[in-house]
């Protein structure tokens, strides 16, 4: 279970490999505040959605061979849960957290890639962690690039993309299938 957890954070990161929330990461890295509350909301949303969806999937969709309806079912469950937690966080902490797609993609990723409820929960949570852990990294890179004062053409985000590509290559370098092909 620990290997699965770390696999979806580093080696097969939801952001870097599956591309779930890569654009949101780039946009969110402009300011790093409220990240804890956003993460808390995402964890609560994911935990509730995966629990309900997994139960419905095992008891309703799988016995009737309707697995392909998983996506609309997740959407049906996730929408009220997300709205509920949005309302709670807005009234309790006076913080608006309109993030929607990233947690939803983590739930889909978790349920479609797992064989048990624990695994679904673990994959969804580790995917979410991979997303929220990547925002401070990008924030730091952004700050460094600001100090470096690059040429005008690279100020529009190009260097951020190149930095993400380099981070991806660092993570992929552990992949042994590079070796027989001679690396680059």
């Amino acid at each position: 279970m620990i290997s699965v957890f770390f696999y979806f954070i580093f080696y097969s990161s939801a952001v870097l490999l599956y591309g779930a929330g890569i654009r949101h990461c780039v946009v969110s890295s402009k300011k790093g505040d409220t990240i804890f509350f956003r993460f808390l909301k995402a964890v609560l949303c994911i935990f509730s959605s995966v629990s309900i969806c997994w139960f419905l999937y095992r008891t309703l969709l799988a016995p009737l061979f309707l697995e392909d309806l998983l996506f609309p079912m997740i959407m049906l469950c996730y929408l009220p849960i997300n709205s509920f937690f949005n309302y709670i966080f807005k009234t309790s902490f006076e913080k608006s957290m309109p993030e929607f797609t990233v947690s939803l993609l983590c739930v889909i990723l978790g349920i479609t890639h797992s064989i048990s409820y624990t695994q679904a929960l673990l994959i969804s949570l580790s995917s979410s962690i991979s997303y929220y852990a990547f925002i401070p990294v990008l924030f730091a890179i952004r700050k460094r690039l600001e100090y470096a004062d690059p040429v005008q053409e690279f100020k529009s985000g190009s260097l951020i993309f190149i930095s993400i590509a380099v981070i991806m290559l660092c993570l992929y370098s552990f992949h042994i299938s590079w070796l027989p092909l001679g690396g680059f």
Binding site: G19, D68, F71, L79, E153, F154, S156, S158, F161, W178
Partner: protein, 202 residues
């Protein structure tokens, strides 16, 4: 301030073009999915306006979007189950991309036809950009031109340089990101030069 369409395209490319397999055949399927989902979900939004369901537009459109994605996947499975299997998560990613959500929840003040026309025009323009992007990735990554087939994909080998062989980098996601960043830098450069010309002569 109005956003430049190129920046919108690049934002869409981050979720639609970069994380998927760099094959032209998969690009065609994803472009068809984009057009299919944009068209029907835009129609759904128009219908919500006609039925005065303005308060429920977001949940209704999102659920309809998920249904459209499943419907497209089923049609794709009829044509080629291998393609549907390979693009499994990418189809969900595409349907939840900021590009499609941006189209569907864009301004509706000019009526159904104008809304649908504007959405489809932008979707077609993005499709052209996406096909160019996939063609480039296919050629640089594999030295091929691929088309969707019932057995998966059909590859046509194109004349290419030897350094494309035995190389993981050209077909990987980092290369797609690098290519995108270069496109963005070139666009910024061209845009800046045009701005100088505009300021000088107009």
């Amino acid at each position: 301030m109005k956003k430049s369409p190129v920046f919108v395209f690049i934002a869409g490319a981050l979720s639609l073009l970069v994380p998927t397999t760099g094959r032209f055949a998969y690009g065609i399927v994803l472009v068809l999915a984009l057009l299919f989902i944009t068209f029907f979900t835009s129609l759904c939004r128009s219908l919500c306006h006609k039925l005065a369901l303005d308060e429920f537009i977001v949940p209704v459109c999102l659920i309809f979007l998920s249904v459209c994605t499943v419907l497209f996947k089923q049609i794709l499975m009829l044509f080629s189950p291998i393609l549907a299997f390979t693009l499994d998560f990418s189809l969900y990613l595409a349907s939840l991309s900021s590009l499609i959500l941006g189209f569907v929840f864009s301004d509706y003040s000019n009526g159904t036809l104008a809304f649908l026309g504007s959405n489809m025009k932008h979707a077609f323009l993005f499709s052209l950009f996406a096909l160019f992007f996939y063609f480039f990735r296919d050629y640089f990554g594999y030295g091929t031109f691929t088309l969707p087939a019932r057995e998966g994909i059909t590859a046509y080998y194109l004349p290419s340089f030897h350094f494309f062989e035995h190389s993981f980098f050209w077909s990987s996601i980092p290369f797609a990101l690098l290519f995108l960043s270069l496109l963005l830098a070139v666009f910024t450069l061209v845009n800046r030069k045009f701005d100088i010309i505009r300021r000088k002569y107009y």
